[in-house]
């Protein structure tokens, strides 16, 4: 990945700010009730209007995007224009997400149910986030021109990472988020490098940018299923993680499958309320599936691959490597 001079400078600034955050974190730590705080940061994103530039740095990689976000209390419209990687634009209306690829005039439309889960789930008794994380207030800091409260989600065990969050003082909007490893070092950082709150955004104009006119619209061929129906079971639960969804998807786009004989991949999703883990199970292929074990994808993301009889299991998640191994080793074919 090539970094321009400006990007390098930004990277250094982000790195320094992460170091500074670590210093602040040590200065004070007061326990704060978790659920009300999560409700507040959710409320902030549902009620705030803002534009800005969002920067993600993970390991040695960095990506940025322009953001437009409007809402009227019930509906949220968001446009994300990544400035790094594949040329694309992501448009979100509540849980409906369309990714536009202008070069090929292809748009991928999907419904992400997970976007509608919270904060409803926080109110229900199903939420067990409090069992896995504790919230601590670390103080305040001025960041991208705003006064922010700093909080830290501290994991209660070594099965998950910690998070340090900067939320804007008046609204509660999250303007910086760090993922911390088991020793408290910053693995990943996502932050606004520039933010305009209550910016004048023309809602009608923004909504029009979500039009798929002139695009070939593709919808992922996803089918809801259960691990049980697919013949899989987690022989031992992984502490704090609950099964949240299970899908079946074709191994390749329909146009690339030969004679309709493509095998499907199962994606079984687990969450502890903050971190998510996906278990992918597909038919073993000796040509492609050559390396078992852990791999580091940079930042907070790891994978663990394992062959089970005629299947190949890939566990992906923003969790410590030992947690992925626990999932990979607990998965069993039903007898």
């Amino acid at each position: 990945m090539r970094l321009s001079g400006q990007r390098c400078l930004l990277f250094v600034v982000l790195w320094l700010s992460s170091l500074h955050g670590a210093v602040v974190a040590q200065s004070a730590a007061v326990d704060v009730p978790l659920t009300p705080w999560l409700m507040r940061v959710h409320q902030a994103s549902r009620q705030s209007v803002y534009t800005g530039t969002f920067v993600v740095s993970a390991g040695a990689n960095m990506a940025s995007a322009r953001i437009w976000h409007v809402c009227d209390g019930t509906q949220q419209l968001e446009r994300v224009e990544p400035l790094s990687g594949t040329t694309r634009t992501i448009f979100r209306r509540n849980d409906q997400v369309i990714t536009f690829f202008p070069q090929s005039r292809v748009a991928i439309a999907e419904v992400r149910e997970s976007l509608g889960l919270f904060p409803g789930l926080l109110k229900s008794s199903d939420s067990a986030i409090g069992d896995s994380y504790r919230l601590k207030a670390l103080g305040t800091e001025r960041i991208v021109g705003f006064d922010a409260d700093i909080f830290q989600l501290v994991p209660t065990d070594r099965m998950r990472y910690g998070y340090r969050v900067w939320s804007e003082k008046k609204t509660g909007l999250i303007i910086q988020l760090q993922t911390l490893d088991l020793d408290g070092k910053v693995l990943e950082q996502a932050a606004f490098s520039e933010l305009q709150l209550d910016a004048a955004v023309n809602v009608g104009k923004l909504a029009k940018t979500g039009s798929t006119q002139g695009y070939r619209v593709l919808r992922p061929d996803l089918q809801k299923t259960t691990a049980d129906a697919q013949g899989w079971v987690l022989q031992k639960a992984v502490d704090g993680f609950k099964s949240t969804a299970c899908f079946q998807r074709p191994v390749a786009p329909a146009s690339e499958r030969q004679g309709g004989s493509g095998h499907s991949t199962m994606q079984w999703v687990f969450s502890d309320g903050v971190a998510t883990v996906s278990l992918f199970v597909e038919t073993y292929d000796s040509q492609r599936h050559v390396r078992e074990g852990l791999t580091d994808l940079g930042g907070a993301t790891h994978t663990h691959a394992r062959r089970i009889q005629d299947w190949w299991v890939t566990v992906v998640g923003e969790v410590p490597a030992s947690t992925l191994s626990a999932f990979a080793n607990a998965l069993e074919r039903k007898k």
């Binding site: 940025s64 976007l115 909007l173 899908f247 492609r288 993301t301």
Partner: protein, 210 residues
């Protein structure tokens, strides 16, 4: 070629396949080998070897890497050869047979059945893997649909590319893994921080090295 008559039919075929012979010499060699059943078999074997080496389906890079590993082990066991013929030895006079052996080895064709040729193949194969790997690492432009079709072609040649070694494990690039990562980002958003920040993170960040 001066010493065409002094070498076996197998070696003449090898030299011809390297394009080192004139049209007239090619005609002569072909005339000789059609009468030699063993030479015809050698010709066929060389052609098959060439086809296999050029075919990504028949000779996946993974196997070549294994070959390279075996080759490196074998090389370590090989006795060390002299790097060059010392000038002093030449001046002092070298026996005819020793001199002939030296000249012969220097003129051996690239695909002659000697061990160094195999080493060259191994190195060339690893270079191909590196080039394909570089292509995977750098591909970032174009629509996702186009990328899928490109990566599908590349998959059979180099399913895994080690980008870096880290304390946790090797950092890999694998087009299929990229697809799984994308699927994880799309459906793995069951997080209380998803709406406030996680969605923006996933929308902004495609993954390492993309």
């Amino acid at each position: 070629m001066d010493d065409l008559k002094s070498i076996s039919n197998e070696e003449r075929i090898s030299v011809m396949m390297d394009g080192e012979l004139s049209q007239e010499e090619c005609g002569r060699v072909l005339g000789d080998i059609v009468a030699d059943r063993r030479a015809i078999e050698t010709w066929h074997v060389y052609q098959v070897v060439g086809d296999v080496m050029r075919s990504p389906e028949l000779a996946p890079a993974r196997d070549e890497l294994k070959f390279l590993e075996r080759l490196e082990k074998r090389l370590a066991q090989e006795p060390k050869l002299p790097q060059s013929v010392p000038t002093a030895d030449l001046n002092a006079g070298v026996s005819d047979s020793a001199w002939a052996a030296t000249v012969g080895s220097a003129k051996q064709s690239a695909n002659a059945p000697v061990f160094r040729w195999k080493m060259l193949v191994g190195v060339a194969c690893s270079a191909v893997v590196a080039v394909v790997g570089g292509g995977l690492w750098n591909q970032s432009e174009g629509a996702r649909g186009d990328e899928f079709s490109k990566t599908k072609q590349i998959q059979t040649q180099a399913p895994l590319v080690v980008a870096a070694e880290t304390p946790v494990g090797p950092m890999l690039r694998d087009p299929r893994l990229d697809e799984l990562m994308a699927a994880h980002r799309q459906l793995g958003g069951h997080s209380a921080l998803q709406v406030p920040a996680g969605f923006l993170r996933n929308a902004t960040y495609e993954g390492a090295g993309r």
